[in-house]
Symmetry: C2
Subunit: 301 residues, 2 copies
């Protein structure tokens, strides 16, 4: 039996938020996070932190821990019995200034119910405006390395899950180069709350150093109106994914979540051009050709 | 028994599209519609027409007539028996260049099934970046005038339906000043296919002269970065409505509709600012205060 309490997990996620914010502020070199604390009518609340910096144009690093009687829509959506619940986690989206730097998303979360059921979920995925095969490979290597320490099935399973989840069905394209996505990691199959939590912690702690490295490699690359125009198109697709397909966003908006915290994921500026077509043999065409499920990024570069 | 055939209705909608495009081109004075014809694998197709003009920054005027065996998702969504269907209509969204000119949407449509069931649907709603009470009043007067010719219950019922439909629940705000929205207008309650169609035709024919008048009144008003910034915010809300709440958009994207025709409704450029707040006593605050259900625009100005 684990001695790990829900308060331990909540305290950890708060520390993780603090730690990630410090690393991102240091890497940006100019922007500072602005915090809004909010409370949920039904119980609990959160700390939404937003940065508008020199390299990160709009970034959100949110912590929340909400609890109370489960709303009926949640019991229905999860297929569980009524009771009390706790949902806590850290959720991040960063939109960089430069189209050369990728957009990134990370989430780690824990859910438990008064009947004793619990699980972890989360993931990291990368959305480069311009896909750099070396960066995509490095990104996946780092994810695989963390996964492999915990279970050999984690990386292949969670990589496929990300391909399937971060997918714009109406465009037949992935959101970016994927990453890992996982949900309902419980005590089944020989795992414990401690071993699951150890994995989730490593995912959370990988995020900041990994993104800072990718950002630093790209932040000084030149770009102009062409690249910014493409960035607006790619950001438009990001909006489409989040508003049309992302289950968390839809669920949050539909069940009275804090709108501004949920929609911090939307870019500062996005564009839509009817029938936008990329030029043949261009960097944009190269990126478009790689927005597919099932690419083995570890072997591509 | 009406002699009105489905081919009559399809032919009418095509003519309506032609007529509206001519009027909008004349009013824009520069832009011309570019047409894409497309076919649907299951049967039928459409003519998507897009304009990028001097006053209309991005506008779509789409005709479609699709038919064939009803996909299971459609029978489920509508709660009807399997069979063949026809869905035809004209659908329009116009995003003006100037933040002083309102965004507008219009749709008229007809649906029938092989079992003989049929209905009309549609609506017009106006989304000013800056609400002008006189224009809102005139817009509603015109809608009421068309409605009243056909049934005294139409305007009050369809005006309320628009308030309820064009509503961003997660923002607790309406998309704009509303208009009229109606669906499933069938032969029940003393109506016939002819009388319903006569109403729908008048709605379709009201659209172009009404919008052209509103546009002409506003197109030469000055504006600067402040108004354009607010326009991007309002356009962001338009995106949120269309991608999160609009049933037609979601249904189309989910059932393999033509993505570029469906998403022609999205603005050329939109923005999201965390916790954007309007300045007290500003024109933006005036607009924000009027984004509410239940306003009687006929008596407000």
């Amino acid at each position: 039996m684990s001695a790990l309490s829900k308060d331990d997990i909540i305290a950890y996620f708060k520390d993780l938020q603090d730690d990630i914010c410090r690393q991102l502020e240091a890497a940006d070199g100019q922007g500072q996070f602005h915090e809004d604390q909010w409370e949920r009518a039904g119980g609990g609340g959160g700390r939404t932190r937003i940065i508008q910096g020199r390299h990160i144009e709009k970034g959100g690093v949110n912590f929340s821990a909400v609890h109370g009687p489960m709303p009926e829509r949640i019991t229905q959506a999860l297929g569980v019995e009524p009771g009390d619940f706790l949902a806590t986690g850290v959720s991040i989206v960063l939109h960089p200034v430069s189209p050369q730097v990728p957009i990134i998303h990370m989430n780690v979360r824990y859910f438990e119910m008064s009947n004793g059921q619990w699980w972890f979920g989360g993931g990291i995925d990368l959305t480069p405006h311009y896909i750099d095969r070396q960066q995509a490979r490095y990104f996946h290597e780092q994810l695989k390395s963390v996964c492999d320490k915990h279970h050999p099935s984690y990386y292949p399973e969670f990589k496929k899950w990300a391909d399937d989840y971060f997918y714009l069905k109406h465009r037949e394209e992935t959101r970016g180069v994927g990453g890992i996505f996982f949900d309902r990691l419980s005590g089944e199959g020989g795992f414990t709350k401690d071993t699951r939590f150890a994995f989730v912690r490593e995912v959370g702690e990988l995020f900041a150093p990994l993104y800072v490295k990718l950002m630093k490699e790209k932040k000084d690359m030149p770009y102009g109106e062409r690249e910014q125009s493409w960035q607006r198109i790619r950001r438009g697709r990001y909006v489409e994914f989040n508003l049309v397909w992302d289950k968390g966003t839809k669920f949050g908006l539909d069940t009275g979540g804090r709108t501004e915290s949920i929609l911090m994921s939307l870019p500062p500026l996005a564009g839509w051009t009817y029938m936008h077509e990329v030029e043949a043999d261009s960097p944009e065409a190269e990126t478009q050709s790689l927005l597919k499920k099932g690419i083995d990024w570890l072997r591509l570069a």
